[in-house]
């Protein structure tokens, strides 16, 4: 399967906006998983508070990133949209839904805001991000490589 890259549809001085935004949800959701693990081991409530903020901020930035991702996708002609772009989109949509559900779980009070459901969701979210992130990098860096030729 020839997986071509995707030309950015929205860019500032040549830098794709989507690429500037995606690190935020990746870092936030990974951070939430780490603070969840710490909370599950210590029961220090502040770590579950950290998780709540990381999930909320990750969701906000993730929604912005998704918006610019969609702009990138639909500014390209249908024939230029590679299959992995769709997989990347659907996977990251699932990430945002998981993180949203996880935010509500984290809004519970005390131990069950994290253990077991919140922590489980945080781990699944990060595992899914590894896959969608790889696909996303494959889209953007192949694009870079193609321009460099």
């Amino acid at each position: 399967m020839a997986t071509a890259g995707l030309k950015p549809g929205a860019a500032i001085l040549g830098v794709p906006v989507h690429a500037m935004l995606v690190p935020f949800p990746i870092v936030c959701f990974t951070g939430a998983m780490i603070t969840d693990i710490i909370y599950a081991n210590t029961a220090i409530i502040q770590y579950s508070n950290f998780s709540s903020w990381l999930l909320a901020f990750g969701l906000f930035m993730g929604a912005l990133a998704a918006l610019f991702g969609l702009i990138d996708l639909f500014r390209n002609r249908a024939a230029d949209r590679p299959t992995i772009a769709w997989v990347h989109m659907i996977g990251n949509f699932a990430v945002l839904v998981l993180a949203l559900v996880n935010s509500f779980v984290h809004a519970r009070d005390g131990w069950t805001s994290v253990v077991p459901t919140g922590l489980t969701l945080s781990v699944i979210t990060v595992l899914l991000l590894v896959v969608t992130g790889f696909l996303g990098h494959s889209l953007s860096y192949r694009h870079v490589a193609r321009n460099a030729r």
Binding site: I45, R108, T112, V115, T117, L128
Partner: protein, 452 residues
């Protein structure tokens, strides 16, 4: 396990939350042995927030036949508690939330916005107002600000010529003799009370022992279920016994999540309180209650409720504390938010009501079907509950709108029941109509309602 089945496993407890059998009937959750369904966890905790609309001209709450309700005073600024005096004057404590609770997670912002909608738009006075009924018609016609600029006051008690006011952060003493309409001087601090920057349950209920030698003050928890961390709960969720002369204090009973309505039962001379129990583990958990307070007893919060029912949200668990926890005397029903309690020691009401408890139920917010929003009555015999809960004053609610919300209750010197209504901004007065047999004087028709 595949990813999707893992996901399902994680979500399953959530999805199942709404399919837990039939809820217990309301009267099964009242009295000495309430039904306690299994705890549930939610993605979206049930919530129904009422909208304050106030009382229009001439509207009043509803009382049983044989009683009359009138507005003793209207257009107050958030009256939450009342203290009737021996000369007929009534002190009304106007107060509001100190409203300084810090935001520690996104939920705090959302809850603050949502729950705030149920409060009266009138700015609370944070003061003590003296209401005087000069012509004796059951409606106050003179009002003076007795003590101003208080820090979210709530509890108030008079012992001899000492007036004690429990602000959210301290107990104050003022020299005051019934009949006075002003107070000289700034008052004296008796003792500081746990407040601090979170100060979640801020109402400090106050009463004095029958002999006046001790004060008792209720200190609510700093959270729903210790989700601010257990360190925030130092000295909270307990009743203190305070020596009014020195300010020395000790925990009198602990594990009481949000104790209010502190008052002594006149026959047994035991301290009673109404307590708001924990939220977000079910529409029908945990029933709020009233109880006589056993000195030195631990009532479970936060680790357990109704004795040894463990709350799994509190970590680390404390098996030794759960083992110590004793159940309260009498459940009032889930989320009714009981805040006021008064015993009818007079004889102005019919015999059925003699010695019984009248409970101000501010009303639920975290339940699909609204609960509370009434004055409940529980008959007593020999100083103990002896019957089921009866709605006594109702009509605060119209659909999901609140004309009023009852808080503090008290009996005045004539044996009438006074009710502080912090949404209607009214102090209501309930009197028993003259009995046909003793028809001397006031011949008021049955169940009339009047309002200035």
């Amino acid at each position: 396990m595949t990813r999707s089945s893992l996901w399902l496993a994680a979500i399953a407890p959530v999805a199942l939350a709404d399919c837990h059998g039939t809820p217990p009937a309301p009267d099964q959750q009242q009295g000495a042995n309430p039904a306690l369904p299994n705890a549930e966890q939610y993605l979206f905790p049930p919530m129904k927030i009422t909208t304050p609309i106030g009382w229009k001209n001439g509207e009043t709450p509803t009382v049983p036949s044989g009683f009359t309700i009138t507005a003793f005073a209207a257009d107050l600024n958030g009256p939450r508690n009342i203290l009737p005096l021996s000369n007929g004057d009534v002190l009304a404590v106007e107060a509001g939330d100190p409203n300084a609770e810090p935001v520690t997670r996104p939920k705090d912002i959302i809850y603050g916005l949502v729950i705030g909608k149920a409060h009266s738009p009138v700015k609370p006075g944070n003061r003590v107002v003296l209401l005087r009924d000069v012509d004796g018609d059951g409606q106050s016609d003179q009002r003076t600000i007795l003590i101003d600029k208080l820090n979210s006051p709530f509890g108030i008690a008079l012992v001899g010529n000492a007036l004690y006011v429990a602000e959210t952060d301290k107990i104050m003493r003022y020299a005051f003799t019934p009949g006075q309409t002003s107070i000289a001087g700034p008052g004296t601090v008796v003792t500081l009370l746990p407040a601090g920057e979170i100060n979640h349950h801020w109402t400090k209920s106050l009463t004095a022992s029958p002999d006046g030698s001790k004060l008792y003050v209720g200190i609510g928890s700093n959270s729903n279920i210790a989700e601010r961390g257990i360190d925030a709960e130092l000295d909270r969720a307990q009743i203190w016994e305070v020596d009014p002369a020195t300010g020395a204090h000790r925990p009198y009973a602990t594990g009481l999540r949000n104790p209010n309505g502190l008052t002594f039962e006149p026959i047994t001379r035991k301290l009673w309180t109404v307590v708001n129990e924990r939220d977000e583990i079910g529409q029908n958990l945990v029933p709020d209650y009233m109880t006589s307070v056993t000195p030195g007893a631990f009532y479970g919060w936060p680790w357990s409720y109704y004795g040894n029912h463990v709350d799994i949200r509190v970590m680390p668990r404390q098996a030794n504390m759960v083992a110590k926890a004793i159940p309260p005397d009498f459940a009032l029903g889930p989320h009714v938010a009981a805040l006021g309690l008064a015993f009818n020691s007079g004889s102005a009401f019919p015999a059925h009501y003699a010695g019984g408890a009248f409970i101000g139920e501010h009303g639920s917010w975290n339940r699909d079907v609204l609960n509370g929003y009434q004055i409940a009555f529980v008959p007593f015999a020999g100083g103990k509950p002896a019957g089921k809960i009866e709605p006594f004053v109702t009509g605060f609610l119209i659909k999901e709108n609140t004309r009023g919300r009852p808080v503090g209750v008290a009996f005045d010197r004539a044996g009438a029941l006074l009710i502080a209504d912090d949404v209607g901004n009214v102090v209501w007065r309930v009197t028993a109509n003259a009995q046909p047999s003793s028809a001397a004087g006031a011949a008021s028709p049955a169940s009339t309602s009047t309002r200035p």
